[in-house]
Amino acid sequence: MTANPVEANPNTAPAPALVVRGLTRSFGRVRALRGVDFTLASGEALAVFGPNGAGKTTLLRILAGLLGAEKGEVIVAGEMLARGDVRHRRRIGMISHHSLLYDGLSARENLEFYARLYGLADRRGTAQRALVSVGLEERAGSPVVTYSRGMVQRLAIARALLHDPEIVLLDEPFTGLDQQAAATLRSLLGRLREERRTLVLVTHNLDEGLELATHVAIQVAGRFVECGLRSGDTASYRARYAQATAGA
């Protein structure tokens, strides 16, 4: 099976927000990505499923500009993503299973620090609005080390969205969350969809991913073995995933 570029959704049909062509990356002799292609329009959400070591996180780190690709290109809102070019970083937010926060700082201090790094004008106001949006305003002054895993993840979402990015990358965001925290996260991610942000989510969890996705890819050994508009229910994707990853 060959990997196909994601087709534009005829219901949304906006200009591409994110174009990825022929992305290739190796670590020593291990080929983490082998010619990954896809295109997403504004408001679309791609869920990438794959087993451990499939190259999902590598894909996200390249999209975020944290890693360079050996071959291929990433085009964000019509502009080629170049190494060292800081302009595209304003357009991208990343939520991972690591919070990227400082435990010794309070929630407000963390957000105000990142607001300064992003050069936002009203740092205090922006941080306060972000805290309210994730329901943490009452604990804003408490050090992050005192937060539960769910609260940390909500704050991580606030951090990632602080600069109002057009594209949000999510790396296993449900990892380690209890049911209540996962429900809160689902609601927050649903809000991102309503705000027509472009999402790329990598996960093992088909249920969580399919709930969010307009497009689905299955990645095995660095390749997209299936990629396209979401079609079919969870059971059919479970079967396709099992078939694609058999022997991987």
Partner: protein, 226 residues
């Protein structure tokens, strides 16, 4: 987009606030400093070697290793929750990140030295006041070189398996020129020698600082790539 200096200041202020709250590295370095000075004080034989001859070496060995304890934490605190990724995702330049870390480390090492110097005077009965201004100048010059190189090495060492052990191994060879220069100048200051005897060493310290500030800023851009 934040300016390089605004981003650097934000990073330095954040590092210093975290250290001020935990005080872990600062207190460890202070205890280490007091212990080293006490051990050297009781281990030496004042009748065999004069204090003026041995004290400069002890002062700089103490500064160097106490400073190393602080430099270890510069990037180690970014490992927590993968916070370094958060910095790299932001529009702040790599240069801003490096300069921010350098400023925070300079404040940290200077604070250690400010406490260590009176302890040194106390343990070794050295009259520092007559040479305090030139000594402070030498300490500042050597500390800048030490911190500039140490911050870069800390970034290199942080992703290795034994970062705390790797940092001195990587760093100490590069510190030979500034530490040697600082010991030589300090020794002559304590001995009341004329300025002409130290000018060459001072030039070395200044040249080292300029060369390594430029080099480290240029190299740092590539250190954090992958």
């Amino acid at each position: 987009m934040p300016s390089t200096f605004a981003a650097a200041w934000a990073i330095a202020a954040k590092d210093l606030l975290l250290e001020f709250r935990s005080r872990t590295a600062f207190l460890s370095s202070l205890v280490f400093t007091a212990l080293v000075l006490a051990i050297f004080n009781f281990a030496r034989d004042p009748t065999a070697v004069s204090t003026t001859d041995i004290a400069p070496g002890i002062l700089w060995v103490t500064f160097t290793f106490a400073g190393l304890l602080g430099l270890n934490r510069a990037f180690a605190l970014e490992r927590e929750n993968h916070a370094l990724d958060g910095l790299l995702l932001s529009p702040a330049s790599r240069t801003a990140l490096y300069l921010g870390k350098v400023v925070a480390n300079l404040v940290f090492v200077a604070a250690i030295e400010a406490v260590a110097l009176p302890l040194f005077a106390l343990f070794f009965n050295m009259p520092l006041l007559p040479v305090l201004v030139p000594l402070a100048g030498v300490i500042a010059l050597a500390t800048v070189g030490f911190v500039v190189v140490g911050t870069l090495m800390s970034a290199i060492a942080v992703n290795t398996r034994f970062a705390e052990l790797m940092l001195p191994v990587l760093m100490l060879p590069f510190l030979m020129p500034p530490i040697t220069g600082a010991v030589q100048v300090t020794s002559r200051l304590f001995g009341g020698r004329p300025f002409s005897e130290v000018s060459a060493w001072l030039k070395l310290l200044v040249a080292y600082d300029i060369v390594f500030i430029v080099l480290c800023v240029l190299i740092f851009e590539h250190i954090l790539d992958e």
